[in-house]
């Protein structure tokens, strides 16, 4: 399960550190104590930044780094597609072998396919993605409120 790509992201995380954002969430994985604080910054529906700080295992930390790589600069609709594809892969219990179409969508994140065989670790891989989803809902909920105000 420890693909070279995962270890690389773990040792040299991309986009780590908290920067300006529209919303901030703090998520924990109570079974093991992985934690992440994540902020999202939107320019309309375009993701301007996803910044994060966290502590936890290599899987949870590498996953946040991959998330930053994949989502920053994307439109929300594309980002949702990536998130849903990653979720599908992680919940597959090892049954989904990523094909080319999936690799095009997930890029480095296909390296986590092996993690899906380990039920105890799936939550680690999904931690930052769930945090992003939550933060996005909060951020866009806020801006929606602003628009109607």
């Amino acid at each position: 399960m420890y693909q070279e790509v995962i270890l690389d992201h773990y040792k040299h995380p991309h986009g780590r550190g908290l920067r300006d954002g529209d919303a901030e969430v703090h998520h924990v994985n109570p079974t093991c104590g992985d934690e992440i604080t994540l902020r999202v910054k939107y320019d309309g529906e375009r993701i301007e930044d996803v910044s994060y700080e966290g502590q936890g295992c290599s899987i949870s930390q590498a996953s946040a780094s991959v998330l930053n790589d994949l989502l920053v600069g994307k439109d929300l609709a594309d980002a949702r597609k990536i998130q849903e594809t990653f979720l599908e892969l992680m919940q597959s219990k090892g049954a989904v072998v990523p094909d080319e179409a999936m690799e095009d969508i997930l890029e480095d994140a296909v390296a986590f396919a092996g993690v899906s065989k380990f039920p105890a670790r799936v939550k680690c891989a999904l931690l930052s993605w769930m945090a992003w989803k939550d933060a996005t809902a909060q951020a866009l909920g806020e801006s929606a409120k602003k628009e109607t105000a």
Partner: protein, 418 residues
């Protein structure tokens, strides 16, 4: 093979535990180092469970037919065995629960509804410690929230012991109950019971002891302890899951109110009110975990035949060896006493900045089963500024060879993430 003084004949003992022969990941013989989470079960216990279901299964305390009488005799016989095992003055002081958490919650709930002189209210205090398992924290937080009583606790020293330097400020005339663990599940620390009980007795506070990590490993004598309540669980002491014990002093069990109501715990019932059966039945509403109690009885027989002093000596030798070997691993920091004195056989540690989940995963690939995380004792991790630990814990079937396997496995982990 490493020979240490005091070791049991583990070759013979391990033959009783079928799971210890498991092969995982193709060709790796399991090295089971997670007995503090749950112990493995000997064939004698598994046979007792089977025999009960195959030959004696019936509900207890009800039928007049042969197997119902047998089931009742086996269930109550298990109570006798447990009472003898902990040197209880009376078998009626042994309440069967589903686990230690339920036992501790039961005490907290007896006190939630108690009248004077046990009444817990906003003018009183509850005392616990920072090294408790969540099961000995949350019930007292609930009691505190429900009654308005103040929750206080003993802190920890840097080397993993209770800080009792301010014992007279923590346990005061206002203290109604002091609840603490005899042996920490994370740190391994064996706590100085006498000092705490003496102070509690001075101020007239009740004392509840969480013996979950003690009952499996050492002689547990509730009379010598002088506590008011002692809680432990069956599955950590080679028994099945689903059976725990609460021992309580008889006069307290008579005075304190029941928590769960239902069948078995009553004397008479009318539509307006009920009277209750005497303890222990007063606290055992509903059909109890019968097979599990019978299994615990078999577990107690198994442990007693080997001898709790012998088991304690074995574990001490293994722990001493493990502390020495682990301290040879670069970047390894033991969380808890870095000595085998006054400590149990659970050893928590960190390995540089490699996350325990990664340590556990790579060890698993070698067939080594350890626990990783905060071990249901998150405040301890907060106290020592760490997110989690890796914990290896030993039992009567553990060998020096398994300690060596762990140390080799940790070297492999370091190389992998280095």
């Amino acid at each position: 093979m490493t020979q240490l003084p005091g070791l049991l004949d583990t070759d013979a003992i391990r033959k009783d535990f079928p799971l210890l022969d498991r092969i995982v990941h193709g060709d790796k013989k399991i090295v089971y180092l997670d007995s503090a989470a749950t112990s493995q079960k000997p064939r004698q216990v598994l046979d007792a469970l089977n025999e009960y279901y195959e030959r004696h299964n019936a509900n207890v305390h009800r039928g007049v037919y042969t197997v119902a009488e047998e089931a009742t005799a086996l269930y109550e016989g298990a109570r006798d065995k447990v009472a003898a095992f902990i040197n209880a003055p009376s078998r009626d002081e042994v309440i069967f629960t589903k686990n230690a958490s339920e036992s501790l919650n039961l005490v907290a709930n007896m006190l939630t509804w108690a009248d004077e002189p046990y009444r817990v209210d906003r003018d009183t205090e509850i005392v616990i410690t920072e090294m408790e398992h969540h099961s000995n924290i949350v019930p007292w937080q609930l009691l505190s929230q429900r009654t308005g009583a103040k929750l206080k606790w003993f802190g920890l020293t840097d080397d993993g012991r209770l800080d009792l330097s301010n014992i007279e400020e923590i346990i005061t005339e206002k203290t109604k109950i002091v609840s603490f663990t005899l042996v920490s599940n994370l740190l391994g620390t064996v706590n100085p019971v006498e000092t705490i009980i003496r102070r509690a007795q001075q101020v007239g506070a009740l004392v509840c002891i969480d013996a979950s990590q003690a009952a499996p490993h050492m002689v547990l004598d509730v009379q010598a302890l002088q506590a008011d309540f002692v809680a432990f669980t069956g599955h950590k002491m080679v028994g099945p899951t689903g059976i725990g014990v609460l021992w309580g002093r008889q006069e307290l069990l008579e005075d304190l109110p029941p928590f769960l109501g239902g069948g078995e715990m009553i004397e008479t019932v009318s539509m307006h009110s009920s009277t209750y059966a005497p303890a222990p039945h007063k606290f055992e509403a509903g059909t109890p975990p019968i097979a599990q109690a019978v299994g615990l009885g078999a577990a107690v027989d198994y442990l007693s035949a080997i001898g709790m002093e012998n088991i304690a000596r074995h574990e001490h030798a293994i722990t001493e060896y493990a502390v020495k070997r682990l301290l040879e691993v670069p970047d390894l920091r033991i969380i808890g006493p870095a000595t085998a004195e006054d400590r149990g056989a659970a050893l928590s540690f960190t390995l540089g900045d490699i996350h325990p989940h990664d340590v556990g995963q790579v060890l698993d690939e070698e067939g080594i089963a350890v626990r990783v995380g905060h071990h249901c004792a998150r405040p301890v991790c907060l106290r020592y500024g760490i997110p989690a630990t890796t914990r290896a814990s030993f039992y009567l079937y553990s060998t020096p060879g398994e300690v060596d396997a762990l140390v080799d496995g940790l070297e492999h982990v370091r190389n992998f993430f280095g």
